[in-house]
Subunit: 341 residues, 2 copies
C-alpha cells in the first residue's frame, strides 16, 4: 500500500475548495471559517500532509540548509566540530550538508560551486591543505560576493573577509612548552607538518617564542617535519637516533603517538627520559599507553560558535561590504595533563 506524498492541490480537490483556502486553513488563519478550517485540518492530518520543503525553499529563497566543507571526515577533530555544528544547527531548524574536500583544492571548488547554486544558505568550512598551499581563495571570494555568508574555522586565511573561529594556537603552544620547561626539560623537539598549514605555523611560532622567553636557543635541528600520512616509522627513526632531546611538542596527535611508540621501542621511559605533548585532544590521547598530555581544542564548542555566527548572518541583515560586520572568535585551548608529561 504505497501512499505517496499529498499536496495542497490534492486536498483542495478532494474537499472541493481552492488551494489558497487550504493553505490558509492549515496555517490556522482566521480568515477561514472554523468549520472549513477543522475539516481541512482533519483531512490533512488523516493523510499526513507535510509541506514540501523544496517548494518552500524556492518561494522563500531560503533552504534552511548549511553547507559544511571539511578536508576529511575520518578525523577526530573535524567530526567533533561537525557535531557541534550539527547539534546547534538542528536546534535552530537547519540541516547540514557535508562535502569532503579530501585536502584537494579542486574538490573544494567543485563542492562549493555545487552547493552555492541554491542548495544552502551559508557555508562553514576549514580550508584544505592544498588550498592553503596554493594560496588561492577565489572560490571563497566568489561565494561571499554573491552574498552567501561564510564562516571559516581552524584552517582559516586572512585573505578572505568573513567570520572566523580559531583557537589561540600560539599561546597554547607556549603554555605547552612552558610546562615542559617547568618539569625540567631542556631540549624540546617540535614535530610538525611538512605542508603549510596555518595552524602548524601558529603552533611553531608559539614554540619558538616560548623557547626564547625561557632562554633556550632555537635549534632547527630539533624540528622534524613530517608528511601527512606516513606509514613507516622509518621516517622519524633517524631523527631519534641522531638528535638528543628530552621532550617533544607535536602539532597533532598522531605524530606524538608515533613518537611515543618509537621512544618505547628505543627503550626510553616516558616521561622520565622523554615527555610528549600533542595537539588535538582526540581519542588516541586518552587511550594510548601511556596516555598523552594534549592541547584540547574544544572542537564541539568551535562548531557551535561557527554555526551560531553563520545562522545569525543568514537570518539578519548586515552590510556585506563593511569589514566591521565580520568577527573572529577565539576559542581558548586548554592543556590536558596525562601520563606523558
Amino acid at each position: 500500500m504505497i501512499q505517496k506524498k499529498i499536496t495542497l492541490k490534492h486536498i483542495a480537490r478532494e474537499l472541493g475548495v481552492s488551494i489558497s483556502t487550504v493553505s490558509k486553513a492549515l496555517k490556522n488563519s482566521n480568515e477561514i471559517s472554523r468549520d472549513t478550517r477543522e475539516k481541512i485540518q482533519a483531512f490533512a492530518r488523516l493523510y499526513n500532509y507535510k509541506p514540501n520543503n523544496i517548494a518552500i525553499s524556492l518561494k522563500n529563497k531560503r533552504t534552511r540548509n548549511i553547507g559544511v566543507i571539511i578536508p576529511d571526515i575520518v578525523h577526530h577533530f573535524f567530526t567533533t566540530v561537525f557535531r557541534g555544528i550539527e547539534k546547534y544547527a538542528n536546534q535552530r531548524g537547519y540541516n547540514v550538508i557535508v562535502c569532503v574536500s579530501d585536502e584537494s583544492f579542486d574538490k573544494e571548488v567543485i563542492n562549493m560551486e555545487m552547493l552555492a547554486n541554491g542548495s544552502i544558505d551559508g557555508f562553514i568550512m576549514a580550508l584544505s591543505a592544498e588550498t592553503q598551499d596554493k594560496n588561492d581563495f577565489n572560490h571563497l571570494k566568489q561565494v561571499t560576493e554573491q552574498g552567501i555568508p561564510l564562516v571559516l574555522f581552524d584552517r582559516v586565511t586572512e585573505q578572505v573577509v568573513c567570520d572566523k573561529v580559531v583557537i589561540n594556537d600560539e599561546e597554547a603552544a607556549m603554555q605547552a612548552v612552558d610546562l615542559l620547561v617547568n618539569s625540567g626539560k631542556e631540549r624540546i623537539a617540535l614535530f610538525t607538518t611538512e605542508t603549510y598549514l596555518n595552524v602548524s605555523e601558529k603552533r611553531e611560532r608559539g614554540y619558538r617564542r616560548a623557547l626564547e622567553q625561557n632562554g633556550i636557543p632555537y635549534d632547527e635541528d630539533l624540528v622534524l617535519r613530517l608528511p601527512f600520512q606516513f606509514e613507516e616509522e622509518d621516517l622519524s627513526r633517524p631523527f631519534f637516533e641522531t638528535r638528543r632531546f628530552d621532550a617533544v611538542l607535536s602539532v597533532n596527535e598522531v605524530f606524538a603517538i608515533r613518537g611515543m611508540r618509537l621512544a618505547g621501542k628505543l627503550g626510553l621511559r616516558i616521561p622520565q627520559d622523554i615527555s610528549f605533548i600533542g595537539f588535538t585532544d582526540g581519542i588516541l590521547s586518552k587511550y594510548s599507553m601511556p596516555t598523552l598530555s594534549s592541547v584540547a581544542q574544544h572542537g564541539e564548542q568551535m562548531g557551535e560558535v561557527a554555526a551560531r555566527m553563520l545562522i545569525d548572518k543568514v537570518e539578519n541583515e548586515y552590510d556585506e561590504t563593511d569589514p566591521g560586520s565580520y568577527r573572529t572568535e577565539v576559542i581558548r585551548a586548554s592543556l590536558v595533563q596525562r601520563e606523558s608529561t
Copy 2:
C-alpha cells in the same frame, strides 16, 4: 561589489529574448539559431550563470540529495562508512545531508521526517541503539511506504523490508575465536554491550558457536556486559579480579583497549598471558600499545555499496511492494593480526 545570482529571467530581459529561448540556448538546442545561442551563452558565461538547484529539484521532483542518518558522527566506523557513501555519491552527482540520531529514537524520527518532506531522494541509515531497543520501526515503514528508497547498514532490522548492507559478523566472530583457540587459549572471555544491538548479538552468537565447535563449554561467567560510555575502569576491574581467562574477544574496539590497559596494570603480559581481539578495526587498534588484532569491517566499502544500492533504486523503476526487489549485501570482514595475539 556584490554580484547576486543571475537567473534565466535576467538574461532574457537583458538580451530582449524570451526565457524559453534562453533556456534552450543554454542547452545548446539547435532549435535556436547559432547566432542567438552564442550571444546568450557568452552573456551567461560572463555573468557566471548557474541554474538554481532548488528550482530544478522542484521541477524534476528529484533533489540529488541523499539523507544519511547515523547514531554518532564522532565514531570511527560510522565516519568510515560515511566517507564511502560521500565519495560514491559525489561521483554520481549527489550530495549528502547528514543527521545524527545520537542513539535516540526521537531524534531519529524527527530527522527522518524533516528530510522526508522533499529534501532528499533516499535514505541511508544505521539504527540508533534506542530504536533497536524499542523495536519500533514505524518511521522507517512510513518512509518506504511513501516510495522513498531506504538502505540500512550495519545496524539493521528484519522488520523493515528494504535494501541492507551488513558484514558477516557471526562468522567473523567465529574466526576470531578459532584464532585464539589455535594459539592455545582455552578460557576466552567476551566483552559485549549491555544494550541490545543486532551486531553485538550476532557477534555473541558467533562466539558461542565457535566455542561449541571447539569443544569448549560456554561459561556465562566469562561474558562481561558493559554500558556504552563508561568512564571508569572500575566497572571491569572486578571481572578481571574474580575470573580466570586467557583471552578476550570484544564486540568493539574501545572495550578491548580498556581491557588491555587494565591487564597491563594488573601485570599481565599481552599476548602471552592474555590476548585480545576487537571488532571495528579503527585508529585505536593501529596505534595502541600493543597494537590490537581486530576484525576489519571495511566501512568504506560498506558505504560505497550502500550508496550504489540507494542511487540505483532512486534512478530506476522497481516494484516497491515486491520483496524480491530488495537485497541484502554481505561484506566479508577480515581479521587483522597485530601484536595483541
